[in-house]
Symmetry: D2
Subunit: 383 residues, 4 copies
Amino acid sequence: MKAVVYKGPFSVAVENAPDPEIKHPNDVIVRITSSCICGSDLHMYEGRTAAEPGIIFGHENLGVVQEIGSAVKTLKPGDRVVLPFNVACGFCKNCQRGFTGFCTTVNPGFAGGAYGYVAMGPWRGGQAEYLQVPFADFNCLPLPPGEDHEADFAMLADIFPTGYHGAALADVSPGESAAVFGAGPVGLMAAYSCLIRGAAEVYSIDHVPERLDKAAEIGATPINFDQGDPVQQIKERRKGDGVDKAIDAVGYQACAPGSSAAGGEQDEVPNIVLNQLIEVVNAAGALGIPGLYVPADPGGVDENAKRGALSINFGKLFEKGLRLATGQCNVKLYNAYLRDLIIAGKASPSFVVSHQVPLDEAPSAYDKFDKRIEGYTKVILKP
Amino acid sequence: MKAVVYKGPFSVAVENAPDPEIKHPNDVIVRITSSCICGSDLHMYEGRTAAEPGIIFGHENLGVVQEIGSAVKTLKPGDRVVLPFNVACGFCKNCQRGFTGFCTTVNPGFAGGAYGYVAMGPWRGGQAEYLQVPFADFNCLPLPPGEDHEADFAMLADIFPTGYHGAALADVSPGESAAVFGAGPVGLMAAYSCLIRGAAEVYSIDHVPERLDKAAEIGATPINFDQGDPVQQIKERRKGDGVDKAIDAVGYQACAPGSSAAGGEQDEVPNIVLNQLIEVVNAAGALGIPGLYVPADPGGVDENAKRGALSINFGKLFEKGLRLATGQCNVKLYNAYLRDLIIAGKASPSFVVSHQVPLDEAPSAYDKFDKRIEGYTKVILKP
Amino acid sequence: MKAVVYKGPFSVAVENAPDPEIKHPNDVIVRITSSCICGSDLHMYEGRTAAEPGIIFGHENLGVVQEIGSAVKTLKPGDRVVLPFNVACGFCKNCQRGFTGFCTTVNPGFAGGAYGYVAMGPWRGGQAEYLQVPFADFNCLPLPPGEDHEADFAMLADIFPTGYHGAALADVSPGESAAVFGAGPVGLMAAYSCLIRGAAEVYSIDHVPERLDKAAEIGATPINFDQGDPVQQIKERRKGDGVDKAIDAVGYQACAPGSSAAGGEQDEVPNIVLNQLIEVVNAAGALGIPGLYVPADPGGVDENAKRGALSINFGKLFEKGLRLATGQCNVKLYNAYLRDLIIAGKASPSFVVSHQVPLDEAPSAYDKFDKRIEGYTKVILKP
Amino acid sequence: MKAVVYKGPFSVAVENAPDPEIKHPNDVIVRITSSCICGSDLHMYEGRTAAEPGIIFGHENLGVVQEIGSAVKTLKPGDRVVLPFNVACGFCKNCQRGFTGFCTTVNPGFAGGAYGYVAMGPWRGGQAEYLQVPFADFNCLPLPPGEDHEADFAMLADIFPTGYHGAALADVSPGESAAVFGAGPVGLMAAYSCLIRGAAEVYSIDHVPERLDKAAEIGATPINFDQGDPVQQIKERRKGDGVDKAIDAVGYQACAPGSSAAGGEQDEVPNIVLNQLIEVVNAAGALGIPGLYVPADPGGVDENAKRGALSINFGKLFEKGLRLATGQCNVKLYNAYLRDLIIAGKASPSFVVSHQVPLDEAPSAYDKFDKRIEGYTKVILKP
């Protein structure tokens, strides 16, 4: 089969790879119809991780069941399914409690696994024609047959649940005010999710005009941090008041005001967003942090950043009595509910998709997405 | 009346002060029968805050209603009551939601007020014969008449709820394992509260042998951090596993292994406990942080510490998907329930009390408690 | 002042009544600008309660503070406020925990008080020029000055929070399906609230075409129970599946299919909706029951109904593992958040208002509303 | 192998049955070392269900893995495990959310399955030498090797979690008061669980002196309902106050005061406990109902009872604003935590076990247990 293979920093190729096979009775093979490029794929693409050449990328996967293992109970060939980016077993202590992003079975010695990602276990990615899916009864989310909502449903693999996770971690509730830092695909999904959860006011903070325009289109209030301290901008609009809840959809590659849209290590201020969150929420508020922070970052701006240690205004955090929650999204907590919102016409997350291109064009798509040129913000590869 | 007045660093005196008066229709005057010295009083006593001489100390107060304001509905002279250390109005947005430690009414411009404490509003302390209590229907917790359980009930003003708050912030639940850092009075109350909440295993970390003995007496497993990395000690006892939940009952004056019991600025490592918490819990766990962190500490070990900025292993925190909750205890969330446990004979928090002395002996009690000599660990002043 | 006074079954008059006075330091007097007639006022109007002539009706009140008691802290004359229908103290055990509909202070010997309602305490109603409001700092919800959103804000006194309470009791969550029985004002508010909370599908069950039209307008799916068993209608639309959650916004005066819109005792089947709720939800689902059930109903259809005992399919309820929650709305849990949705333009509950008439026209408005003629469904009286 | 086979009303025999086999790759075969007789087995034994002769009884099973299917990941022969009485898949909508008692996979057309029970699917019981366990990675709870705590661990299959479920459904929390109706094995486990969860006061209501003695031994207050209305007895002890929470551990075979210990249809008052629960709790309280109610009971006392319809004081329930939760226990929500309490020495639920007998003596054990003679209250069969 054809697959997108990592060749080294800033290089991927579409190559032939062995077809995946049923290796375990609970496996299925899925024929991929949509597989997205994720911003987190760029961490590997840019050589900013320990990823070795040869990895098949792709953890945002949707397709049709092609073949099933002998133990599979609820799936049959022809079923259309979307896969959470986290690979999970369904029965370990963490999976049982809903923490499927921290499965201890699928990636021995570590809590959490994913398709096509460095250090996340032996699972090949889905930017390819076929994908092996383990513990298939647990991992496959059934979709209506056909091709309706294909792009919306593709968002269920990662970014829609991940954005929603931010809102859930911060417990954004009806009538509340929320500030969402970052208006990339995940940030937009987080702002969108705050609105779905009934927030009265949502502020969306970024400095890329196209992103802020999208935020305004969905009903959030855009705040451009190149135009002044975003915390002060929000407090001015709220007559001195902060917000109830805040979400970090940026992560450790946060950049300083005035830096370029595509970012760059020289512009990074890895703790800037975290400290802005602490500043912008009112006492007794909550912070949701789906944005990625890592314990080892070879490209970190200093020795502390390289080991994931950040200077946090903890005294202020305590004085305000804040709570915060972090971590990779547990996709299965949310994906069936978000699917039903799409089917009911109440959510259309594909508004973030900028391009859909054949699998063969993956190299150029990676290049343009990485450079944030020609409007590349969210790409679906179509094998 | 007689009252304990702050005279300057390392000095308090028992002096005459004007009797408090009903200043507002919702006030009552309480004749104090027990008022404890809190570890946090020592921050002021040691000159480590902005406290000016003249403050009457005392935020852990119990007594008998002497006089009531014209608007008071549920109290009458003679009623025995214990007062939460937080002064709260009962009707602001935060009080309504249970966050009575962050009342926005009683200390204008700030969220939270307390008796006898610097920057916590105009409220005089209760290490005195009488105390003015505002919003009395809201702030007074009724007790059975008489003198039974006097020392147990005195713990309801602060340290028993504050310890319990740590367990609640970490959501310690039946059958779970928990590590409680610090076995001073609040740490012991936190460990005790974990057990009340049904924890299966509780580790209590300190390096003062007397404290660790108390921890063992109540059923916790003592871990002496002078005898090796406490995280490793706990994981060894658990065959490599961490714990479900962890509590920081130490705060910013955390000290390094091998330092003296009374501590001292030169021994402080303000982020050591926070990073140990992150290390000791399992993925998807939770941290409760009732230990005090402050946004401005003139005596901080470095420039960052002076402004309450600490180096936190945030990459690791995120990778494990942890959540944490902080802040001053909202005493009213818990105090009626903890009172009922005392009345039912199911809790006796006074096991932490080392001394009960007449109010007149306050100067010597402060001195000995500050030096941790003669077994002074928790003192009740009896006016 | 002028006030709407109950004269006996099917009779109210606008009469002169003594102006209310500040009786307690925490009181304020509010000059009423909007006071609604509630469906529950009709219980008294129809003589179906123990209400004695002389009661001033009106528990859905909005106005401007006219005068304040000496203990009031946060209000001043001229402030625009809306009052929860429940009178509450803010400091009893129930109020502290948010159960302000079950205050034990304001109506001695009973849990819960209200303005202008039989057996709900000594509080006069607000269908009048002025209203005494006790515990004013706690009971008054501040509104923006002026007259904007007057009808929307008037809904905050009762029916918007009460409808929302139904959705909260059933814990309706994003992406779920819900069935709301009853599309009168509270039922419509419940359906509206389910949508605000992010429900994917909401079914609205009634048999009055105008109500069902309103339900469809706000995005719910109307189900007419005169056209067949509503449970079967819903399951057919869902391919045999039930719903996640169900809400009873009807109460004990539920009527049989084919009965007239205005109802009548002969048509009542007091347990019909409760058993339909049990039938329509899936296993492990939840029921929210804001619809009124009473422990004594002189007009009940049989001896059991007269004492509030209903035949419930409890075996089925248990087999499905359902949970249910009931009771009068605790308005203060929700009203500030719902106000903020109105201000942000995200909710406009006044779509249920059919008429706004001068206070003097109260007798005719009661008559028409009781008969459900001339489109009278929700009336605001304007003193 | 030998197995306990149902022969007809009041008759079981130990007979030879075919050895179970691995039928599905996720199965394991467990060699049973302990299998308890449950009170709910007596429903079948007494002919009060649709159970046909030939069923192998036994849903409270503990043993050692003998053989594993090809898909099993985390188990190996020799592992000691206890099985929840509910058979569950781990991946259906209900299992995912923790409602493993309502699995929709294992018993097609119904939500919920169990071993050895009429209408609960094709799963043979474990009162036998061997047992087939499906979805074994999900259903097996690992235990420490050896034979320690064998009787305590056997309680983890059903009655300890089921009692705990009652306390969880009522959300019994530290410092609260609770009334537990029924002091049979499940009722005692519920009272014990309330205490584990930190309740201040627990009342245990029954009329069998031996049961009430056990309740007193574990720290509950016994209330004998033959000696007067239990609600009044509790309120008198509490100076007129009710309790925060109440639990029904009796179910539909509730009996009138003065009836015999073994019960009998003529003494049944199926709604008596439910209405006592409503009466005994305070406003805004909660009810947990793990006691069994069924939608079809051929032996019901009247036509309504035969179809599971009970007369409930719903008006009172609503007036008090109560919430209630019902249903079969989801054992996997609790069993690992309860196991850890046993291992830590903090729980010893085997205090309810009256007899341990060889499997061969099952017929006499059933007879004596059904007649409640010779102290038979909880029997473990030892194959």
